[in-house]
């Protein structure tokens, strides 16, 4: 593994993470793409560079390790699927709300406000005042 590849992996992961932490879905999508590229490079770096792993074209001793390649190939196509799905989400979000920002979860926000007001939830049957003797 070489310093140059490591550097590339590090930069891709760093840039991808920063974008992933954004609220704009398009940016999140770009972050996922960068992270995917970084992960692929990381896996690739597990193998030394060499000749293409095709029998008959090169001697087995000269070939690079084919297993990481198979994994990366799978990963590339999965990333394509991810990208398509996130894009659809971003478009849908824009269509419904006029932007593609990820909102805070409404229910979580409600609980948070309860906590800030030092109140309990309105769960039923907890706060009856007296033990009434029912008929």
């Amino acid at each position: 593994m070489s310093v140059s590849l490591l550097l590339a992996v590090g930069v891709l992961f760093a840039a991808g993470t920063v974008l992933l932490l954004e609220r704009t879905l398009t940016r999140v999508l770009l972050g996922v793409m960068l992270l995917g590229n970084g992960a692929n490079l990381l896996v690739l770096a597990a193998a030394r560079p060499g000749a293409p792993p095709i029998v008959g074209v090169a001697e087995p001793a000269e070939m690079t390790d084919p297993l990481p390649q198979a994994m990366i190939l799978t990963a590339i196509v999965i990333t394509l699927g991810m990208t398509a799905f996130l894009l659809a989400l971003a478009y849908r979000s824009w269509l419904l709300t006029g932007h593609d920002e990820v909102q805070d979860d409404a229910e979580d926000r409600r609980v948070r406000e309860l906590a800030e007001r030092d109140e309990g939830s309105d769960a039923e049957d907890l706060d009856a005042d007296v033990v009434e003797a029912p008929r």
Binding site: M1, V3, S4, L7, A8, V9, G10, V11, L12, F13, A15, G16, T17, V18, L19, L21, R23, T24, T26, L30, L34, N37, L44, A46, P52, P53, I54, V55, V57, D65, P66, L67, Q69, A70, L73, T74, V77, I78, L80, T83, A84, A88, A90, Y91, L95, G98, V102, D104, D108, V111, L114, A115, E119, D125, L126, A128, V130, A133, P134, R135
Partner: protein
């Protein structure tokens, strides 16, 4: 066997009730009656059937003296209460079938509880009774207090049950088995036993409503009266007492701190309960509540007596247990009769019942005598025995005796209040309700119970012989139970108690509102828990996606980071670059990635990210991975097209920028993650010791996989399961994308333009089938011509890549992507109608066909006797073509190809054509004015 019958009966009960109405209870009563009959004829028994050997859990049942007594009660009282139910409930009462089922099931669970020889089995029945009692108490769940009472009973007893489970596990794990016999001989010692004892006591006391858990029982009077008579007099609340009685011999024998803790808490809390409950009972106006507080009081007495742990006390306890079940069930049923006939249980509104319902009085009085501890009922013999046993037990005994005597005084007083309240003539009773025909048959069950109490009193000697084996488990000897001991201190005490009790009743004013013990603590605990949950949830569930992601990534940094530093290899040879050529794409990649982060325009950011992808492809190529390079180029192109298709509609700039502080935090996290990942990568690669598994692949792929391209053989053969999972994901993604974009189901179904385009004009040259549908200003003849020329060539290339992929770079993925690009070009040149013309099929059908081919290939190998997805080489002799060399995994690759084509087609239809349609139909976002201020 009888347990199984209960289960079956519980399942059948709703049907029976529907068929016969309340009369079905007569049939159901036969079952507990059978249990009773068994108990009359058998005094002991044992039955073991292994169940879960891995856990050492067996269906072990055993009947000894104590459990025999409870079996007798569970069966006998159960049968009588069911008979009572048959008349108590009017035909057509809502939910009666459910009630019958739950009640029968409860009787079975209770039976199981008392005969289980395995502690874990007993615990299961224990919780079963808890859950079923919840359903019974909340039977009329429309009223809020009823629901609340049921929930309260459930929470209190379940919490206690969980504590008990921990205690049982401590004992069982120490003993190496959960049978009573195993646990009894191998108790732990020291603090461990103390902990176990306390936990088990918590379970027992909560179930038996002993202080500080007493409050749930009076509230549980929301249950229908038969339920109160059975659960809250004879069976369920006895479970805790039963547990105390069961553990008492072994723990008292173990001695030490545990025995002290046991005795002090059981006896102390029992006495407190007896006094508080008895006192509270004195002030009740509701006859049922009066009995409920009386039950609390009596349960306290029983706990104290059993917890005391001498032979005499044990014998007296069993007698009292027996007596209490009989008289309390009888009295509850009497109250039920009054309630049903008068429509009220409030003693201020009852008048003249004594004179008008003499039968009822004849039933109630013997039971009440037993409750007060007067001859000739069994209650008298029991109470005398308690006094005698405590007198024999030295100074601590006398201390306890004082408490019991005081409690007994209260018992006499509230018994008097009960009789007076139910039957006396009172001048002050305004709008009083008199009796209106008390059904005779309704009285059968309480009458039998009351008579049994008296009969047992006369038969105390016989009862003594039957029950004394339990007392033999303790040290010391017990006096014998008898109705008449002759003059002595106990008799004197009895007389004093009765006199004092009657005096107390006379002295107290009639209509006082009494104290309601307990309940406040429960409420505080419940609301406290609720508040804590809100605070914790509010603090941790911020609801913000970036917050969650940041937290996860921070965990990665703080866990993997230090590990990376600690395991850093000393001096390893690190190259600066793989080959100097690598440096160019790496440099481009780094620059593009860094500038993609702050980009403000969507398109700029997308293109920069795309540049990193292409640079990646170059690195792959230089590394010796032509398949990867090819795929990456194609995927990057498809991705770019996809993103640009959507970006047409989205605003050009990102909507907002985070503040500088947030930005710094994000960049900090990003840099840390990048550093950690690069370091971990380096560490993982340099820590490698084993020979790569793929070293053997070059020799294997040709003979076994039938191909020369190792990467492709790995994908479609060696790791074909992986690929199978992946294409399944792709199908799901394609479907998801389409469902997000197509907003109407019927459009989604077709996934193609519905409108038919106009006919092409006749005078213009036609390059593309739907070229004329594009607006004139956007049409590009050049693009149309080129598309016309290259489309079929590209399609041919894709098939070539697919079929030769096994031996040279290519395969299903690359082939599919190339075909997808061909379709993309058609779409870009001719619009959505052109796309429909180019691929006049449903994208879903293409995806489905691909999945079918892929799965079919895998399953085909299985059918032909190989492993799933195993490939075979076929050499076919085809006329005209000659020898054809076919590898079955190529079929699998065709499935992959179809799925990739389907995915691209679906994406084009959704993000391309359907979005076009939205634009044409001027579908615009919902006005977001109301949401603006919510943006963070």
């Amino acid at each position: 066997m009888l347990l199984g019958a209960h289960l079956v009966a519980a399942l059948l009960a709703p049907v029976l009730v529907r068929l016969w109405g309340p009369r079905a209870f007569y049939l159901l009563a036969a079952l507990p009656a059978g249990v009773f009959g068994w108990a009359v004829t058998h005094r002991s028994g044992e039955w073991v059937q292994p169940w879960v050997p891995g856990l050492g859990l067996s269906l072990a049942f055993r009947v000894d003296t104590l459990s025999w007594l409870l079996v007798l009660l569970v069966g006998g009282v159960g049968a009588l209460v069911l008979v009572y139910c048959a008349r108590y409930f009017a035909p057509g009462t809502a939910g009666l079938g459910r009630f019958a089922a739950v009640f029968t099931g409860f009787a079975g669970a209770m039976l199981g509880l008392v005969v289980s020889d395995d502690l874990l089995l007993m615990y299961m029945f224990w919780e079963l009774t808890t859950v079923l009692s919840y359903l019974l108490i909340g039977h009329t769940g429309e009223a809020r207090p009823n629901r609340r009472a049921a929930l309260q009973a459930l929470i209190v007893t379940t919490a206690g049950g969980l504590a008990m489970l921990v205690g049982l596990v401590i004992l069982g794990e120490h003993a190496g088995g959960y049978r009573w016999s195993q646990v009894a001989v191998a108790l732990p010692d020291g603090p461990l036993l103390v902990v176990a004892v306390v936990l088990i006591l918590i379970g027992a006391l909560s179930k038996s409503a002993v202080f500080p858990f007493s409050f749930w029982l009076p509230a549980a009077m929301a249950a229908p009266t038969p339920v109160s008579a059975y659960l809250h007099a004879a069976s369920m609340v006895k479970a805790g007492v039963f547990l105390v009685a069961g553990f008492a011999p072994m723990i008292v024998a173990a001695g030490g701190a545990a025995a002290t803790v046991w005795r002090v808490s059981a006896v102390g809390l029992g006495l407190v309960t007896m006094l508080v409950g008895g006192w509270a009972a004195l002030f009740q106006n509701d006859l049922k509540l009066l009995l409920a507080y009386g039950t609390v009081s009596q349960l306290g007495l029983l706990t104290a007596v059993f917890g005391f742990g001498t032979a005499g006390a044990a014998l007296a306890g069993t007698a009292m247990l027996f007596a209490h079940a009989l008289f309390k069930a009888a009295l509850f049923l009497v109250v039920g009769v009054i309630d049903k006939a008068a429509g009220t249980r409030d003693l201020r509104r009852l008048d003249e019942w004594g004179r008008r319902a003499p039968l009822l009085v004849m039933v109630a009085v013997p039971a009440a005598l037993s409750m007060a501890g007067l001859p000739p009922a069994i209650g008298f013999a029991g109470k005398e025995a308690v006094f005698a046993a405590l007198l024999d037990a030295g100074a601590p005994g006398r201390l306890v005796l004082a408490g019991v005597v005081a409690g007994s005084v209260l018992t006499v007083a509230y018994t008097a209040r009960f009789l007076w309240g139910a039957f006396a003539r009172r001048p002050a009773a305004g709008n009083a309700v008199g009796p209106s025909g008390v059904g005779g048959s309704l009285l059968v069950a309480p009458a039998v119970l009351a008579a049994a109490g008296v009969a047992a009193g006369f038969g105390a000697g016989r009862l003594d012989r039957v029950l004394s084996p339990y007392a033999d488990g303790f040290r010391g000897s017990a006096d014998h139970l008898a109705l008449w001991h002759g003059p002595g201190v106990p008799l004197v005490l009895s007389v004093l108690v009765v006199a004092a009790g009657l005096l107390l009743f006379r002295v107290l004013p009639a209509g006082l509102a009494g104290p309601r013990p307990g309940g406040r603590g429960y409420e505080r605990v419940m609301t406290g828990t609720d508040r804590l949950a809100v605070e914790v949830t509010g603090a941790t569930q911020r609801g913000s996606l970036p917050f969650y992601l940041a937290l996860i990534l921070l965990m990665l940094i703080v866990t993997a980071g230090p590990a990376m530093v600690a395991g850093w290899p000393g001096a390893t040879a690190v190259r600066m670059w793989e080959t100097p050529l690598h440096l160019l794409p790496v440099a481009v990649l780094i620059v593009a990635a860094v500038f993609a982060v702050p980009a403000r325009r969507r398109l700029t950011a997308v293109i920069l990210v795309g540049v990193t992808g292409y640079a990646n492809a170059v690195v792959f190529l230089l590394h010796g991975a032509p398949d990867l390079a090819l795929t990456q180029f194609l995927v990057e192109t498809v991705t770019l097209v996809m993103v640009v298709l959507v970006l047409r509609r989205l605003p050009g700039h990102f909507s907002q920028r985070p503040g500088p502080w947030r930005r710094r935090v994000r960049v900090g996290i990003g840099v840390a993650v990048g550093t950690v990942m690069a370091g971990v990568g380096h560490l993982a690669v340099s820590a490698r010791q084993a020979v790569p598994v793929s070293q053997a692949y070059p020799e294997l792929v040709v003979p076994l996989g039938g191909g020369h391209n190792i990467v492709n053989v790995i994908l479609v053969d060696i790791r074909a399961w992986d690929t199978m999972g992946e294409v399944a994901v792709l199908v799901a993604v394609a479907t998801g994308v389409a469902s997000l974009i197509f907003r109407r189901a019927e459009r989604l179904h077709r996934r193609g333009p519905v409108e038919t385009p106009t006919d092409p004009p006749r005078d213009a040259p036609v390059w593309l089938m739907a070229g004329h549908t594009v607006e004139a200003g956007r049409r590009s003849t050049m693009l149309e011509v080129v598309t016309r020329l290259i489309f079929h060539v590209i399609m041919l290339l894709s098939v070539y890549l697919l079929l030769t992929g096994h031996d040279t770079p290519g395969g299903g993925f690359t082939g599919g992507l190339v075909a997808g690009l061909a379709l993309t070009v058609r779409y870009l040149a001719g619009g959505r109608y052109e796309l429909a013309a180019a691929a006049p099929v449903d994208a879903g059908a293409v995806l489905g066909a691909g999945l079918l081919v892929a799965v079919g290939t895998g399953a085909g190998a299985l059918v032909l006797g190989g492993q799933v997805l195993q490939s075979a080489v076929l050499d076919l002799h085809v006329p005209l073509l000659g020898e054809v060399h076919v590898v079955t995994s190529t079929l699998f690759d065709i499935g992959v190809y179809l799925i990739v084509v389907g995915l691209v087609l679906d994406v084009l239809r959704s993000l391309g054509a359907e979005v076009d349609r939205h634009a044409a139909a001027a579908v615009t976002p919902v006005p977001a004015s109301a949401r603006k201020e919510e943006l963070v």
